[in-house]
C-alpha cells in the first residue's frame, strides 16, 4: 500500500500518527480509504465538491498532483504521498 505523510494539523485524527498506509490506485481512492480508517480526514482535505482544498498541497513522491492528474493521479504501492499545508513561505 502507498504510505501517506500526515501533516501536524491532521494528526489529532490519526491518533498522532505521522505516516499511515492506505490502499488505492489513485489519489482519490487513497483519500477514500484514509477516511474509512480515520473518519473526518477527507473532509479536511477536500471541499464539498470532492476537490482538494485551495490551501492543501498533495504530493506523490516529489511531484505536486496539480502537475500530474490531480485527484485522478495514479499511485503505486511503493509511492509516498505527502499532504502539506499550502500556506507557508515567502
Amino acid at each position: 500500500m502507498p504510505s501517506v505523510r500526515i501533516p501536524t494539523p491532521l494528526r489529532k485524527l490519526t491518533g498522532e500518527l505521522e505516516v499511515v498506509q492506505a490502499a488505492g490506485a489513485t489519489i482519490a481512492e487513497v483519500l477514500h480509504s484514509l477516511d474509512q480508517a480515520f473518519p473526518g480526514l477527507k473532509e479536511r482535505i477536500c471541499d464539498d465538491a470532492g476537490q482538494v482544498r485551495r490551501f492543501v498541497n498533495v504530493f506523490v513522491n516529489d511531484e505536486d498532483i496539480r502537475f500530474l492528474e490531480e485527484s485522478a493521479t495514479p499511485v503505486k504501492d511503493t509511492d509516498e504521498i505527502s499532504i502539506v499545508p499550502a500556506i507557508a513561505g515567502g
Binding site: P7, P9, F55, P85, A88, G90
Partner: protein, 420 residues
C-alpha cells in the same frame, strides 16, 4: 513587559474560527491561513496621528497594529525607510508624480524582510523558542541570520543551493547554519513545513507566519504617514508569495477603519518576473485559480516562488482595489534596475527591477493613469544580486596614472582647455 490588550487571537481567514496566539499557522478545519485579530475599537482609543508622530522613527511606532504582546525585543530599530519623490524617473516612465519607498536601506540587512523578521522573532521569543529558522529565497535568510545573531537565538536558514553569492555570504557571515537545498524554493518550503511539524522550531514563515506576515503592514503605514497621512492612488509591489502586497492593502484598510487616513480611492498593482509569474498570469487570465510554476526560470531569484501561498489573496486585493498585475522579462528587469539607478540614484536588486519595469508597462498600458500619482515599493538592495547586471552596465575605462593618458583617452576638450 506590559501585555497589550489589542492583539487578541489568531483567526482563520477562510472560516473565521479563533485560535490561541501560539506558533500555529493553518486552520485545523480547512487549512486556511491564520491571521492576527485585533480589537480595533480599543486601538482607536489610543492610536492617533499625534501619538504615532511622537514616537521614534521605526516600524514600531505602529506597535498597536503589530502582533506581539510586550515591547519588541528583536529588531526594535527596523523600518521608517525614506520615501523619495522621484521626479526624473517619473518623467522617463511617463507619469505625473512618482514616489519610491526605499527599503534597499532598511536596517539591518537592506531589504523589507527585516520588517517581517522583527515581528516574527520578537514573537518567537515571547513564545519561548530557542531555535529559529526559515525557508528563504535569500533576503529572508539574511534577515533571520542577522536579527537572530543580534538577539542571541540559534538559527537555521534553508535556501535553494543556487542563490546569488551575495545572498549566501550575507547569511553565512552571521554564523547561522546555512543549508543549501538541491531544488527550487518550493521544495525548500515543503521540506521546512515538514521540519517545522516534526521538530517544533520557530520557522518564521511556517509556524510563525501569522506574526511574520503582519510585519509587512508597516511598509503601508509608513507610506501613508510619509505622504502626509494619505493613501497613494497607486501602489506597485513585487510579488513572490504575494504576502507583502496583501499586507500593504490590509494596512491601508486598517488606517481607514481607524480614521487615521481618509477613505480615498486606491489601487494595488503586483509585479512578477515572466519566468515565474503564477499570480500575474492568473490575473491576466481573469481567474483567481493560481496555476503553480513547477520550474521557475528567471534571474529574479528573490521572487521565484512557483506556488505562492498568498496568491489567491493577492489576486483579490488587486481585483477589489481596481488594480492590475504585470510581469517582465529578464532583460526588462535589467533595464528597470538601470533606470532606477540612473534616474533616481537607487541601486536595487532584481525585485526592484521587476517593480520599475512592471510599473513602466502598467503606465504604458493605461492601468496606471499618466496623470496619476504612484508609489513603487523597492524592497531590496542591488549589492546582493550583482550577478544579474555584471557586464550590463559597461566597464571602467582603464588608464595609466598620468595626465597625458587622461587627456588622450578620457577628457580632451581642446577648446575647453583653452578657456580655463
Amino acid at each position: 513587559m506590559n501585555p497589550t490588550p489589542f492583539f487578541s487571537n489568531l483567526k482563520c481567514r477562510e472560516c473565521g474560527r479563533l485560535y490561541p496566539k501560539q506558533a500555529i499557522h493553518v486552520c485545523d478545519f480547512d487549512f486556511g491561513p491564520l491571521e492576527a485579530a485585533y480589537d480595533y475599537e480599543a486601538i482607536g482609543k489610543v492610536l492617533s496621528r499625534k501619538v504615532i508622530e511622537s514616537r521614534p522613527h521605526t516600524m514600531w511606532r505602529y506597535r498597536e497594529l503589530l502582533p506581539i504582546d510586550g515591547d519588541p525585543t528583536v529588531g526594535a530599530e527596523v523600518g521608517f525607510t525614506p520615501l523619495i519623490k522621484a521626479d526624473r524617473l517619473a518623467k522617463i516612465l511617463g507619469i505625473r508624480e512618482l514616489w519610491i519607498k526605499n527599503d534597499t536601506v532598511n536596517y539591518p540587512t537592506l531589504s523589507f524582510k527585516d520588517r517581517v523578521v522583527s515581528v516574527a522573532l520578537s514573537r518567537a521569543r515571547e513564545l519561548g523558542f530557542e531555535v529559529v529558522a526559515c525557508a528563504s529565497t535569500g533576503n529572508l535568510a539574511n534577515s533571520v541570520a542577522a536579527n537572530a545573531a543580534a538577539a542571541g537565538l540559534k538559527s537555521y536558514v534553508l535556501i535553494p543551493a543556487d542563490l546569488e553569492q551575495g545572498k549566501v555570504l550575507g547569511s553565512l557571515v552571521y554564523g547561522t547554519q546555512v543549508i543549501g537545498i538541491h531544488g527550487a524554493y518550493d521544495q525548500v518550503n515543503r521540506l521546512c513545513s515538514e521540519i517545522a511539524g516534526k521538530y517544533g522550531w520557530g520557522f518564521v514563515n511556517v509556524n510563525l507566519r501569522p506574526y511574520y506576515a503582519e510585519g509587512s503592514k508597516s511598509m503601508g503605514f509608513e507610506i501613508c504617514e510619509q505622504l502626509g497621512w494619505r493613501i497613494p492612488q497607486h501602489t506597485v509591489v513585487p510579488m513572490a508569495s504575494g504576502s507583502l502586497l496583501t499586507k500593504i492593502h490590509k494596512a491601508y484598510k486598517e488606517f481607514i477603519q481607524l480614521g487615521i487616513v481618509a477613505d480615498t480611492p486606491f489601487h494595488m498593482h503586483g509585479t512578477q518576473a515572466s519566468g515565474c509569474a503564477p499570480i500575474s498570469h492568473a490575473i491576466k487570465r481573469g481567474t483567481d485559480i493560481v496555476k503553480p510554476v513547477s520550474k521557475p526560470d528567471t534571474i529574479v531569484k528573490s521572487l521565484a516562488i512557483g506556488t505562492p501561498a498568498d496568491g489567491y489573496y493577492a489576486i483579490h486585493s488587486m481585483k477589489q482595489s481596481g488594480g492590475s498585475a504585470e510581469d517582465v522579462t529578464d532583460e526588462e528587469v535589467v533595464e528597470g534596475i538601470r533606470m532606477l539607478a540612473e534616474y533616481a540614484g537607487i541601486f536595487a536588486e532584481t525585485a526592484g527591477g521587476v517593480t520599475v519595469a512592471g510599473a513602466r508597462k502598467l503606465i504604458e498600458s493605461g492601468h496606471i493613469g499618466a496623470g496619476d500619482s504612484a508609489v513603487l515599493c523597492i524592497t531590496g538592495h542591488g549589492l546582493k544580486t550583482q550577478e544579474a547586471i555584471v557586464g550590463k552596465c559597461g566597464a571602467p575605462r582603464l588608464i595609466a596614472p598620468n595626465l597625458r593618458e587622461f587627456e588622450e583617452k578620457i577628457y580632451a576638450p581642446d577648446a575647453a582647455a583653452a578657456s580655463i
